[in-house]
């Protein structure tokens, strides 16, 4: 198989499900018009936002934990090659086999070969963004291997022939009755009178998967963290499906993006506090599993780790954009994003939706291949405020917008915006000025049309409004609104 036509050692972009097939505004149109979808998203994201705030507010040293988390990840990026080698040595010494994959196709091929070598024609899977990214299920199916998703939400999405729309809760776009209908239709052993109570639905999934767990020979997982010093992998989960997969089968294959490293075991003390509170809004998720290679007589005896680049080297090559590799996939930025809240996850066309997707997907593929995503944001800054590892998402968005091929007028506007945004003072001032100027105009437009947008801006910005309405600045910023709540 041929590899990307780049000379050896040049940072390279990746493949898999990270490319938006349609420009964001086009893809978002149907979602924005779908009232049911909007209602489901609204309800779910509102619930989780409230839980996150409560879980974070009770931690007096939250700011210090974020500082540490951000710094540890920056340190990892700086030392990534060395730390990967260290991880490989430690994991190998503990009995794991470490494999390397340049891209999605190579990672899939490795997993297929390992599964065949284990004599299996099916695998059980723990929810993992990396395997979604490399489209592993499709590759396994093409090789005649059935992949069974075991996370409840992933199971819903798989049975519904759908794709995930959220990092943490892939089925966030469905409500309980829709889920019940999918189960009744597609789950052979679901009771005919299955109700829509979450408790009943969870029970149906338990029974459906139980035998599969007890008989599975091969499991495929991702990892939330990989410890360089010790070769330890960590999986954070809620339902126990992860534990089932990580404990019962003889063979365990973990697909891990190279950015998942932390230097030392002690560093987990930071991330095991940041992640659960930011993602599910819990003090701690129900189950966290850690394993280091093979433990004789306990759990899988044939343990593999596949370290995947698939565009991460290209992200690392950009000094401004590389901090996107700090992401611990908590999904807090999705839950506060007004654009995600209206458009939903599918509009982003990549497994990584929301603000993190808007900065990560274009960097993984090269901006030219995902040019609309950096514009899928209002730059309101709510994402940066909640990010547990302090990724400055708006800054990276503006940076990527400059690389996107688009009319000069737009680029000029963005350059100015970037200059303004580089200083919080200039930014606040600019917003105040814009608001004051736009206030009466916005009120007038609102009275006439019910929206606070303008159909046409004067040149050179007319290039922008030719295809879209320009929003007038909101009466108050998200930050101001938030502080009042």
């Amino acid at each position: 198989m041929r590899h990307p036509a780049t000379p050896a050692g040049v940072p390279s972009t990746g493949g898999g499900r990270i490319r938006a097939p349609l420009p964001f505004p086009t893809a978002a149109r149907s979602a924005v018009a779908d009232d049911q979808l909007r209602a489901n998203l609204h309800r779910a994201t509102r619930t989780i936002r409230g839980k996150r705030v409560r879980a974070v507010d009770e931690v007096p040293d939250w700011a210090a934990l974020r500082d540490a988390g951000a710094a540890i990840k920056a340190d990892v990026q700086r030392r990534l090659p060395e730390l990967l080698e260290r991880f490989e040595a430690a994991a190998t010494a503990a009995g794991a086999r470490v494999h390397w994959a340049r891209d999605a196709a190579e990672a899939c091929r490795i997993v297929v070969e390992l599964t065949r070598a284990a004599g299996a024609d099916e695998v059980v899977k723990v929810k993992s963004m990396a395997t979604q990214e490399i489209e592993l299920n499709e590759a396994l199916a093409a090789a005649g291997i059935a992949a069974h998703e075991t996370d409840l939400a992933e199971l819903i999405v798989q049975l519904g022939d759908d794709t995930p729309s959220h990092i943490l809760v892939p089925a966030i776009h469905y409500n309980r009755t829709q889920i019940r209908d999918i189960f009744r239709r597609r789950m052979a052993d679901a009771p005919a009178d299955l109700g829509a109570e979450p408790r009943e639905l969870a029970e149906a999934a338990r029974l459906h998967l139980r035998r599969r767990f007890l008989e599975a020979k091969v499991a495929v997982s991702g990892a939330n963290f990989a410890v360089a010093d010790t070769g330890t992998l960590v999986v954070v989960e809620s339902e126990g499906n992860g534990r089932m997969c990580l404990t019962l089968p003889q063979t365990l294959i973990s697909v891990v993006g190279v950015e998942k490293l932390v230097p030392s075991f002690a560093d987990l003390e930071v991330f095991l506090q940041l992640l659960p509170r930011s993602s599910t809004g819990e003090r701690m998720n129900p189950y966290t599993s850690m394993w280091t290679g093979v433990t004789p007589g306990d759990g899988p005896q044939d343990v593999h780790v596949v370290l995947v680049d698939n565009g991460r080297s290209a992200v690392l090559a950009d000094p401004v954009g590389r901090s996107a590799l700090s992401c611990i996939r908590c999904s807090a930025c999705l839950n506060v994003c007004p654009v995600y809240g209206r458009a939903g996850g599918h509009a982003y066309g990549s497994v990584y939706p929301g603000p993190i997707g808007a900065i990560l997907s274009p960097q993984l593929t090269g901006v030219a291949d995902n040019a609309s995503l950096p514009f899928a944001s209002t730059l309101c800054g709510a994402c940066a405020d909640v990010c547990p590892v302090k990724i400055d998402i708006p800054e990276i968005l503006v940076h990527l917008r400059q690389q996107a091929p688009h009319p000069v007028a737009e680029r000029t506007a963005m350059r100015t915006l970037s200059w303004i945004m580089r200083s919080p003072r200039r930014w606040a001032l600019a917003l105040r000025v814009a608001r004051r100027a736009a206030g009466p105009l916005g009120a007038w437009r609102h009275r006439r049309t019910g929206t606070r947008t303008l159909r046409r801006l004067p040149w050179p910005a007319s290039a922008w409004t030719r295809s879209r309405d320009a929003p007038l600045p909101a009466p108050q910023t998200f930050r101001e609104w938030w502080e009042k709540q």
Binding site: A64, D75, L214, E239, F265, L268, E269, Y287, T295
Partner: protein, 211 residues
């Protein structure tokens, strides 16, 4: 391409090195977060947090026989302290020879100890050490009864991490199995044990392996 085949490993590492040509400046990691809990009543906090996540808490040794009275088949690790089973009239299934997943699926409950517990988060950590056994023991049975000595309770996550050996397989457990996948409502009980019961015993109870 002519020339020697480049392994994926060499290629990925070379790409990453090339990506760092700007030689980013070294980072000092500020660790101003709490490493040790301030003086709080750890037991009280731990119980509060356990109950909040729907684990059931019992106090003292006397609770054990009462709890076990309703159990017919009980799985235990080999090195369970003998006196934990005092007065238990049901069937004890030790993990030698290793119990199969199907065996475990037929058990009413599993009884273990733990390695350390975190008050701040209501977490118990198992590391396959004394009185804990293999990971699968506490996974397949639907009810997990876990004995925690008060001296095993620490305040914060960093204190627990400091006590653990990374080479041991670990399971951090915070409440019973749960999911928030349906409308982000927390529902207890999916694949892991649906009932988690914690028995708190005083620290002077010596764990002595007994058969």
């Amino acid at each position: 391409m002519v020339g020697k085949a480049v392994t994926a490993r060499a290629e990925v590492l070379a790409r990453l090195r090339a990506a760092l040509v700007d030689a980013p400046t070294p980072v000092d990691v500020p660790r101003h977060y709490r490493r040790v809990a301030e003086s709080v009543d750890l037991v009280e906090l731990f119980v509060d947090r356990l109950v909040d996540y729907r684990a059931v808490v019992h106090h003292g040794f006397d609770a054990l026989p009462r709890l076990l009275a309703g159990v017919d088949r009980l799985a235990v690790p080999d090195d369970i302290p003998g006196h934990w089973l005092t007065g238990f009239a049901g069937q004890v299934r030790r993990d030698t020879p290793p119990l199969s997943p199907a065996d475990l699926d037929g058990m009413d409950a599993v009884l273990t100890g733990c390695a350390v517990a975190v008050a701040d988060t209501g977490t118990i950590v198992l590391d396959a050490g004394q009185a804990q056994g293999r990971r699968v023991l506490t996974l397949v049975p639907d009810r997990h009864i876990c004995v925690v000595r008060t001296g095993q309770i620490v305040g914060l996550v960093p204190e627990a991490v400091a006590r653990l050996d990374p080479r041991a397989p670990q399971t951090w457990i915070s409440g019973p199995s749960a999911t928030s996948d349906i409308e982000l409502d927390r529902v207890e009980g999916v694949h892991g044990p649906r009932r988690l019961e914690v028995v708190l015993i005083p620290d002077d109870d010596v764990i002595a392996p007994g058969r």
